[in-house]
């Protein structure tokens, strides 16, 4: 245990571990200090000054998040002076804020709004519409995300999050003084600024300045259109996180309620992206075998995570041949919905609205990619993030906690344990190994490949399959991806198969997932808790290997096997293209 120091806080004495900040010391002892910019180990610059406290009766207030406790220190966190100081700061921030709370993506978990309420801020310096509309307000040309500077409090959390999680640094402060805004250089659109759409900035933002492109309205209109059949698919990790938006503890599985809520929202058919995950494994597994047996390009890289695909296309395009040609589960499901499933339902593909619920903002852009559709329609029409789904449920007034759980209708909702774990880092690899090992060696009895589990940014293992050593690796998060790909240039080790995910922890921690407030972020291991849900689902499944999924088998025998090679490829596989950031020349 570290040494303790004696600190007086508001006239009471506490023993605080050496090295703690005043903020941490207070929070751990139940003393609340307002804070807006501090985000543990991500953003610790101390630029909002809302956490100011009085230290040793010094005249200048000190930021609690940046001041380390000292033996004999005397801290006051509450008095009129501090109250007025914090209030003034909040007044100033408010005067620059564009209040549109009724349609804000953070309508019920805005950290800024919480503080304005707590300090009864009157917003005296600006009226609601007094906000001067800056030209730099809305950066919304990308398919996935929006930066709305009119709601930015310039805390800098997103800038740090982008830097620390992806290592790319798409965002920064531009200009100075009252013209300062956060965004890519020169107000370029995110699609031209080298952004991979991992959405880590959105989750770091204390307000609604960063958000996904909101598609709620499109969805609301689609479910009310009698000429359309709305078919929804839900990604593996939604059920592990959606509950958080309704007060369930992190790590609660709400699968049944989730489907029930979707039913109440008025969708016509529900399928499970898990089903498509099984399909992906069968396709990807065969592709891998083909590459191994026919001297194809190795190592093969997985292609399920669009954030990762963006990363590769932008920063390592020379490695595109290594990327599996398989579409991601979302897109495979979309393609199947618009063809096989539409046929079975006897509706015209053009009258099907295919909706997917995703833990990811990059999925929104993926759905709009060029070869993700045919005959003039896209395979996935609307992508909603977990957060959008939650907002939708709340706005419709559905009492999530009290609805009866429900199973999805439709047989494309059958899935194996292998599909469940797609949502966590290492899961795609493990699922693939289960199937590949059996394809290579029918005697293989392995089910759990524990070496690929866990949170380390890079994991490696070697499996002996059919007389061959197969070297695999699992990598997640932009920083680790870069490290791995650089290492790949120089290493002598031969890798065969590598799983990549754009987000640390995988989809479970995707950029479309519920936002965990800064305070909870410090206390709860969100990735671990959410992952547990998926691993439990897997271990409880009867079928744990993707190729054993009866619905997948039926799909192949009824439909896919009857297609010619070319059509089959078009349906389930895709192409990639090298891109560069800031490629557009603007005078």
């Amino acid at each position: 245990m570290s040494k303790l120091v004696e600190v007086t806080i508001n006239d009471k004495t506490y023993n605080i571990p050496e090295g703690h900040s005043i903020l941490r010391a207070c929070e751990e002892n139940g003393i609340i200090i307002p804070r807006l910019c501090f985000l543990d180990s991500i953003h610790e610059d101390g630029n909002c000054r809302l956490c100011s406290v009085e230290v040793d009766q010094q005249h200048n207030l000190k930021p609690a998040c940046k001041t380390i406790v000292r033996d004999g220190m005397n801290v006051v966190t509450e008095n009129k002076r501090i109250y007025d100081y914090v209030s003034t700061n909040l007044e100033l921030l408010a005067s620059n804020h564009h209040f549109e709370c009724f349609k804000c993506s953070r309508e019920d978990n805005c950290e800024f709004l919480d503080l304005l309420r707590r300090y009864s801020i009157l917003n005296e310096y600006s009226d609601l519409y007094g906000y001067e509309l800056k030209q730099t307000q809305l950066n919304n040309s990308s398919d996935a995300m929006v930066i709305d500077s009119s709601k930015c409090v310039l805390c800098g959390r997103c800038v740090s999050a982008c830097e620390k999680y992806t290592g790319i640094g798409v965002l920064d402060f531009n200009k100075r003084g009252n013209k300062t805004y956060v965004g890519p250089a020169q107000f370029r659109g995110l699609e031209d600024a080298g952004c991979i759409y991992c959405g880590k900035c959105i989750q770091a933002c204390p307000t609604g300045a960063l958000r996904e492109q909101d598609d709620i309205k499109v969805f609301e209109r689609a479910v009310r259109d009698p000429s359309k059949t709305v078919i929804v698919q839900v990604a593996p990790s939604i059920r592990a996180s959606l509950g958080e938006e309704f007060g369930y503890p992190v790590g609660t599985n709400v699968e049944g309620k989730m489907f029930a809520a979707l039913h109440l929202l008025g969708v016509d058919e529900m399928i499970d992206t898990n089903f498509a995950a099984d399909l992906t494994i069968v396709e990807e597994g065969s592709e891998f075998l083909d590459r191994v047996q026919n001297d194809g390009v190795l190592p093969m890289f997985t292609s399920c995570s669009p954030g990762w695909v963006n990363y590769l296309e932008l920063y390592y395009p020379e490695l595109i041949p290594n990327l599996s040609s398989c579409k991601s589960p979302q897109q495979m499901a979309g393609a199947i919905i618009k063809t096989y499933y539409a046929e079975r339902l006897q509706v015209d593909s053009k009258d099907v609205v295919s909706v997917s619920i995703m833990p990811c903002v990059a999925k929104k852009a993926e759905a709009k990619r060029e070869d993700m559709g045919r005959d003039g329609y896209q395979d996935v029409d609307i992508v909603l993030t977990t957060r959008e789904l939650a907002r939708l449920i709340k706005r419709r007034g559905i009492d999530f906690k009290n609805i009866q759980p429900m199973e999805p209708f439709g047989d494309l909702a059958t899935y194996t344990g292998a599909a469940s774990i797609f949502g966590v880092t290492g899961g795609v690899m493990e699922a693939a190994l289960r199937t590949v090992s059996e394809m290579l060696d029918s005697e293989a009895k392995l089910i759990e490949f524990k070496e690929v589990r866990g949170k380390e940014n890079m994991k490696e293992a070697t499996y002996h399959l059919a007389g061959k050593d197969i070297n695999i690796a699992v990598v997640h998060g932009g920083v680790a991806i870069k490290e791995f790909l650089e290492m790949l240039k120089t290493t002598d080790k031969e890798y065969h198969f590598v799983e990549f995910m754009g987000c640390i922890g995988g989809c479970i921690n995707g950029g479309g997932q519920p936002i965990v407030k800064a305070k909870d972020f410090e206390r709860i291991d969100v990735i671990k808790e959410r992952s547990k849900v998926l691993y439990t689902m897997d271990s409880k499944s009867i079928l744990r290997k993707s190729h054993l999924n009866p619905a997948v088998q039926k799909l192949y025998s009824d439909y896919l096997n009857k297609l010619n090679q070319h059509d089959l490829h078009n349906l389930l596989h895709t192409h990639y293209k090298a891109r560069t950031a800031y490629s557009e020349y603007i005078e």
Partner: protein, 164 residues
């Protein structure tokens, strides 16, 4: 349509040699940007890209620095730069009027460059010469206790263009 803007070859070579000199020293960004500004007369995105690649800094960060300091610019500046101080002391003593006068005379707005490329007009914050307020400067030369008339006269005398 995507058009890659071509940089002047000679200037690009100069930039690379400047980069080579500072690359391995601590904090190479500022000196590089200063050199780039000198070589190109501005630091547009095409130049930022090269610097980003060579110094392994994000373009967003580089642009942040470029747009923060007024010594850097994204578009070429005129041969002569006229700065009018709008710091508190100068402002109180009427420097806004001086700025307006320059705008009228040169037919450009604050921050712009005349069509013939001769003048760039800028408002600045306190330049530390409050004792002489109001103050404006043409290139490196400071004019204190200024007024509108003085400003107009300066333009008439046609301050000799800076050697570049």
């Amino acid at each position: 349509m995507r058009i890659e803007k071509r940089l002047d070859q000679e200037k690009e070579t100069l930039l690379y040699s400047a980069l080579h000199k500072v690359k391995n020293s601590p904090g190479p960004l500022m000196p590089t940007l200063q050199e780039a500004q000198r070589i190109f007369g501005c630091v547009p995105i095409e130049v930022q890209k090269i610097i980003s690649y060579e110094l392994n800094e994000s373009i967003a960060k580089i642009n942040g620095v470029v747009t923060f300091y007024s010594q850097f610019s994204l578009k070429p500046k005129g041969k002569n730069s006229i700065s009018v101080c709008l710091g508190t002391a100068c402002y109180v003593k009427g420097s806004q009027g001086i700025l307006d006068a320059f705008e009228d005379e040169l037919k450009i707005k604050n921050g712009e460059t005349t069509k013939d490329g001769k003048y760039t007009l800028e408002a600045t914050r306190c330049i530390g010469a409050c004792g002489l307020a109001p103050v404006f400067s043409v290139n490196e030369r400071i004019y204190g206790r200024a007024n509108v008339q003085k400003a107009k006269n300066i333009l008439k005398t046609n301050p000799e263009t800076k050697e570049s």
